[in-house]
């Protein structure tokens, strides 16, 4: 069982999707129910990972699966190479966890083409899970790009008014970055081949062992970093995000925020940083600078938004700035903070998008000015919204604090101290924009007659939110459940990055020269 567990987790949703295709298209309930069951089962299948104590003791890859996939002698080799460690573990869990929640949230909001919606959701889940556990760069790239397809349709078909622009922008923006990364991946492979290092396919662990000369690292890192930066998204390549988020249907926004953005940060942790440690040293100040700018910039822009969803989208930019800052701190605390903040952001921002979805379903508008005084009409909603707001603001005791705190501690310990000081000011801005929004939406008198008859959350909607709230407090109060299992992996990653000798430039320079002859 354990031998195939990862494959099972990845492909179970795909299997489910195939079945969905055979359900009659007008049987709305069955479609949604079946999809819910599939996503729940996927979650259950993935639970053994979360309970496996091996992650707490060993930082390496577990649940390895390795099959030869494409093998054309010296020219090419790619493998079906999967594995999960303490870092990807929680992202996998986040994905499998957030999916049932998402499906449940579509009950009322998705009415047209349910079949397509559900099929795409499940396809998306497979792609996301695959990207998190792939250890072969080629395989990773396949899942990475595959993610774009369902999301493109989710935004484009079920999105808002400006959905076409948003969908196309999302697709092309992210694809441009990944295409450059593709060139870098191929280059890396042939570098390995030419330099005679023993490799099996595009296995990332083999590439870790490469001693790349600095000049090669420099460009390769740029290509990887650019691609991931778009996905994160980091300032200034973030502008696809507000559009995509705003136009996407609730479920799409939730998945986009909760999981897909994590791909970028995960990509840094797993690929861009450990593969090119020397170049990383050069770029850390710039990237950390961009992260910090992202925090302040995202917050300031979020503050002025008139659309709730756009506000949350910009707040994502700020939150992911914390993640990146923590990761770039390159120490245990920062890294752990970054990773747990990824999970946190998934939960909090996911919840925020669900919340926006709830009111959008009721009022079909997201303009802040349309609301006001909802707390009267929807007390349960108000409470949940409040908790999520404060989780997003990073109140101690909720998850947001743990992540931000660890990331900032890490940054302070590293030589990103001054960046960290500026980043810390983000806690002020977060309070400003979130509370201001909460006030304008929820507090005050009901001024708009359209809001008079709003119904409070239904049982189903509460059921959607409760699991998220549970984790808000769980991670806030006892993050050790998660930290314990991620620590060994982080330690191993850092050791590997720090112990790696500075590349012997002379030895491998000819290989680079051979590969980059100016022609």
């Amino acid at each position: 069982m354990a031998d195939y567990l990862l494959s099972l987790i990845i492909f179970f949703p795909l299997l489910g999707m195939l079945f969905v295709l055979f359900i009659p298209r007008d049987n709305d309930g069955l479609l949604k129910g079946f999809t819910l069951v599939v996503s729940l089962v996927t979650f259950v299948i993935s639970l053994p990972l979360a309970f496996d104590n091996i992650f707490a003791t060993s930082g390496g890859m577990h649940y390895r699966e390795f099959y030869e996939w494409i093998n054309i002698g010296d020219y090419f080799q790619m493998n079906y190479n999967l594995g999960v460690d303490g870092i990807s573990l929680w992202l996998v869990m986040l994905t499998t966890f957030i999916m049932p929640v998402t499906v449940l949230s579509t009950w009322k909001s998705v009415q047209k083409n349910t079949k397509g919606f559900m099929a795409l959701l499940l396809l998306l889940e497979t792609a996301m899970l695959g990207a998190f556990v792939a250890l072969d760069l080629f395989l990773f790239y396949i899942f990475w790009e595959l993610m774009l397809i369902p999301m493109y349709f989710l935004i484009g078909i079920w999105g808002g008014k400006n959905r076409i622009y948003a969908a196309v922008k999302f697709f092309i923006f992210t694809a441009v970055g990944s295409l450059l990364m593709l060139v870098a991946i191929i280059f890396l492979y042939y570098f390995a081949v030419e330099s005679g290092v023993q490799i099996s396919g595009f296995g990332v662990h083999d590439f870790y062992k490469l001693d790349l000369p600095y000049n090669a690292q420099y460009w390769l890192f740029l290509a990887f970093a650019f691609s991931f930066a778009i996905k994160v998204p980091m300032f200034p390549v973030h502008t696809w995000l507000p559009d995509a988020h705003t136009e996407a249907p609730t479920a799409g926004s939730v998945i986009l925020a909760a999981v897909m953005l994590k791909m970028g940060t995960y990509g840094y942790v797993r690929f861009a940083m450990p593969l090119f440690p020397d170049a990383l040293q050069t770029f850390i100040p710039y990237l950390a600078g961009l992260s910090v700018i992202g925090i302040v910039y995202g917050s300031l822009v979020a503050m002025m938004q008139e659309d709730v969803k756009k506000l949350v989208a910009y707040s994502s930019v700020a939150h992911l700035g914390f993640v990146m800052l923590g990761v770039f701190a390159m120490n245990q605390q920062g890294m752990a903070g970054g990773i747990i903040q990824m999970v946190n952001h998934g939960i909090s921002t996911g919840a925020l998008f669900l919340i926006v979805g709830f009111i959008y379903e009721r009022r079909h508008t997201r303009l802040i000015s349309e609301f006001g005084g909802l707390a009267h009409k929807m007390p349960i909603f108000a409470t949940i919204f409040l908790i999520v707001t404060f989780s997003s603001v990073g109140l101690p005791g909720t998850n947001g604090f743990v992540g931000e705190f660890l990331a900032l501690v890490g940054a302070f310990e590293s030589n990103l101290r001054w960046f960290a000081v500026v980043a810390t000011s983000g806690v002020i801005f977060a309070a400003v924009y979130m509370l201001w929004m909460y006030q304008r939406v929820m507090l005050g008198k009901v001024t708009n007659p359209a809001n008079e008859n709003l119904k409070d959350l239904s049982l189903r909607e509460i059921a959607v939110m409760v699991p998220l709230l549970l984790f808000v407090f769980w991670i806030g109060v006892y993050p050790n459940t998660f930290l314990d299992k991620m620590n060994p992996a982080i330690e191993q990653l850092l050791n590997q990055m720090n112990n790696k000798q500075v590349a012997v430039v002379e030895v491998y320079q000819p290989v680079v020269a051979k590969l980059i002859e100016i022609k």
Binding site: K169, F173, P236, H238, T239, P242, Y297, L300, V301, A302, M303, M304, Q305, N331, Q332, Q333, A336, G337, G373, A375, H376, P379, T383, L386, F390, L395, P396, G397, F401, V402, F405, L406, L408, V409, F412, E413, R417, A420, V421, T424, S425, V427, I428, A431, V432, L435, W436, Q439, M442, L443, G444, K445, V477, Y478, P479, N480, L483, D484, N487, E491
Partner: protein
């Protein structure tokens, strides 16, 4: 031994959760309020038990770890509680005053919408405050620190329909967050500096033990303490972050009493006390604190002179009194500061509750007469002492206490502070002077309040004035208890010069003694000086009272004349020195402008401009190129020939 410590914060948390979840279903207000009060009272009992146990214990510092919170490499943070004399005093104050105010709220909040919500929040507040004072490391303290901020937000904004309440709540939280920013920065710098010397810790005990690793008076310790002080400023409403506290009076009065007078706002003082060793190591920070404290005491008092809203007067008075406490901390009178914190908790809570009682009565009367006058405006009051005798007496007692009249609690604590500010090795006579002036003003405006409210003729609308009742027992019992405490609370800390043993000081010695001793902080001077100063401070208080009596009882038209004569000064003071407007101008509006610019200017125009521009240019090139495809055979043939010529030419001549 002290393993039941966790029960102290746990009870209110339990109450908060239960009331929050099922309170809505419970129809009986008594059950809700009674339950909440009872849980805080349980906490109080546990606190008492632990306090007395500590009294009899030789070891004065106890740390109880519940479980590990975060553990990442060398960063280890526990859910841990610390019981030492300082936190023992604090838990007593918090649970004791807290219980009374909960009890008071049962009656005061009668009939309000969301009754259960109120008590849930109040209990949550008690929980957070107890976490703050009990936390054994800076992070658990920070939970409480932010938690009280959260509850403050919730309770200030309790009247969700009121726009001003929402604004005030948000302002409170955001300003607090500015302070928290400082707190966090200080914490990080401290953690990193100590860590680089081999001690990675957030634990207070360990910090205190290893503080010697830092250079006394050095840059690091100064920066750290200044950062912490910024945090304290935010929480305790000191210059420049005091503006939220007066606005916070939008909340229900018990909230003002509990949070914005007795407990939360004193968290900053407590925090300085908790880390006294670090502060003692940074004389320049201490000086800053003293100056800020004195200035706040003075400055807030000036504003208090001219306010007409009963709660606002009290609010500025609180700011001013907090200034005193900071002055005390700044000159090294740590135990005096905590002492004043405690006495202030008694009399200020009593004052707020008293004002609440008045408001409650007036509100009742107005409601009865279907009027919409402002029940908080003192110009609508007057002569209430007959209508509300209990309220009046307790209020008067507390006012006397705050004015620093001998034999009342405020006298002992305030006097000790003034003495230290003059005579301490870290004091200065100018600090004393500011403090004394503030004391005079305090006496003046507090008595102005008493005179306007309880004396003179009744200025309440005729239709309402006969319907002002005395408040019910749930309200008056806390008033009486607090009034009593306001009188006698000072006797545990009677200074030696007045023949007392200053038990309070000795009790706290395990916490503060070390730093006082190590850094030679002491107040020295002759008895004569001390007596003189005492006399002076009493004298100015009496003068203040006298002036108030002249202006508001003897000669009620005097204030108006005064106002016209010094119109400019009055306007400035009345409008709180235009600080809010200044902040709007300096920070709020620029932030909004920058935000808008970033969004509409940078994001939309520049970044998206480039993105869309690239797309536009690409399409443009395409549209241009497509006309090469003219449809004419000749053009195609020409293109081919050109291609052939180029290629062959390249081969042949290239």
């Amino acid at each position: 031994m002290y393993s039941n410590l966790w029960l102290i914060p746990f009870f209110p948390l339990l109450g908060s959760i239960i009331n929050g979840l099922v309170g809505k279903r419970i129809k009986s207000e008594k059950v809700i309020g009674g339950f909440a009060t009872l849980l805080v009272f349980f906490s109080f009992l546990v606190a008492c038990q632990n306090f007395f146990r500590l009294l009899g214990d030789n070891v004065k510092t106890h740390e109880i770890v519940i479980f590990s919170w975060m553990s990442v490499g060398k960063l280890q943070v526990d859910w841990g509680f610390l019981l030492d004399p300082l936190s023992a005093v604090m838990i007593l104050v918090v649970t004791g005053v807290g219980t009374l105010i909960h009890l008071y709220s049962i009656g005061y909040m009668h009939g309000e919408e969301g009754y259960y919500r109120f008590f849930s929040y109040m209990n949550l507040f008690a929980f957070a405050m107890l976490m703050l004072v009990l936390g054994s490391n800076a992070l658990v303290m920070f939970i409480g620190w932010e938690g009280v901020g959260l509850c403050s937000y919730l309770l200030i904004g309790y009247y969700i329909e009121k726009q001003s309440a929402g604004d005030a709540a948000k302002k409170a939280f955001v300003v607090n967050r500015i302070g928290d920013f400082g707190f966090l920065c200080g914490l990080f710098v401290l953690y990193w500096t100590l860590g680089s010397k081999g001690v990675w810790t957030f634990n207070f005990v360990e910090i205190a033990e290893n503080a010697h690793l830092l250079e006394t008076g050095g840059l690091v310790v100064t920066v750290v303490t200044l950062c912490f002080f910024l945090g304290a400023c935010g929480k305790s409403a000191q210059i420049p972050l005091f503006t939220w506290l007066p606005d916070a009076m939008e909340g229900p009065t018990p909230v003002s009493a509990l949070i914005h007078a007795a407990t939360m706002v004193t968290a900053g003082v407590y925090m300085i006390g908790r880390m006294n060793i670090l502060f003692a190591m940074a004389p320049s920070t201490m000086l800053t604190i003293a100056i800020v404290g004195a200035a706040t005491a003075f400055f807030a008092a000036t504003i208090g002179l001219a306010q007409n809203d009963i709660k606002r007067v009290l609010a500025y008075s609180t700011v001013s009194q907090l200034g005193y406490m900071f002055l005390a901390m700044g000159v090294g009178a740590f135990s005096a500061g905590i002492f004043h914190l405690m006495t202030h908790a008694f009399f200020k809570a009593c004052l707020f509750l008293g004002s609440g009682s008045v408001i409650h009565g007036l509100h009742h009367a107005y409601h009865h007469a279907h009027l919409h006058d402002d029940p908080q405006d003192m110009r609508n009051m007057g002569g209430l002492r007959k209508k509300m005798p209990i309220t009046f007496i307790t209020f008067l007692v507390s006012t006397i206490a705050i004015s620093g009249i001998p034999l009342f609690s405020g006298f002992f604590s305030k006097d000790e502070i003034l003495w230290w500010s003059f005579g301490s090795t870290r004091g200065h006579w100018l600090l004393w002077l500011l403090g004394a002036l503030a004391a005079a003003m305090t006496a003046f405006y507090m008595f102005r309040l008493v005179f306007m409210t309880f004396f003179g003729e009744q200025k309440t609308d005729a239709r309402a004035k006969d319907h002002i009742p005395e408040s019910p027992l749930t309200i008056t019992i806390p008033l009486m208890v607090l009034g009593l405490l306001a009188v006698i609370g000072g006797y545990i800390g009677v200074p030696a010069i007045l023949g007392g043993a200053n038990h309070f000081h000795h009790f706290l010695d395990p916490v503060f003694g070390k730093s006082l001793h190590l850094f030679h902080i002491e107040a020295h001077g002759t008895h004569a000086t001390e007596y003189t100063l005492m006399a002076v401070s009493v004298a100015v208080a009496v003068i203040g009272i006298f002036v108030a009596w002249v202006m508001y009882i003897k000669n009620p038209e005097l204030p108006a004349k005064f106002v016209t004569k010094f119109a400019g000064a009055h306007k400035i003071v009345f409008n709180k020195w235009y600080i809010d407007e200044l902040y709007d101008f300096l920070f709020v509006n620029p932030c909004k402008k920058i935000g808008t610019f970033f969004w509409r200017g940078f994001d939309v125009k520049v970044v998206d401009g480039i993105v869309n521009g690239v797309a536009w240019v690409t399409r443009g090139i395409g549209s241009g190129l497509k006309y090469t495809q003219s449809g004419y055979l000749h053009n195609y043939a020409v293109a081919m020939v050109v291609g052939v010529v180029m290629i062959v030419g390249f081969y042949v001549f290239g």
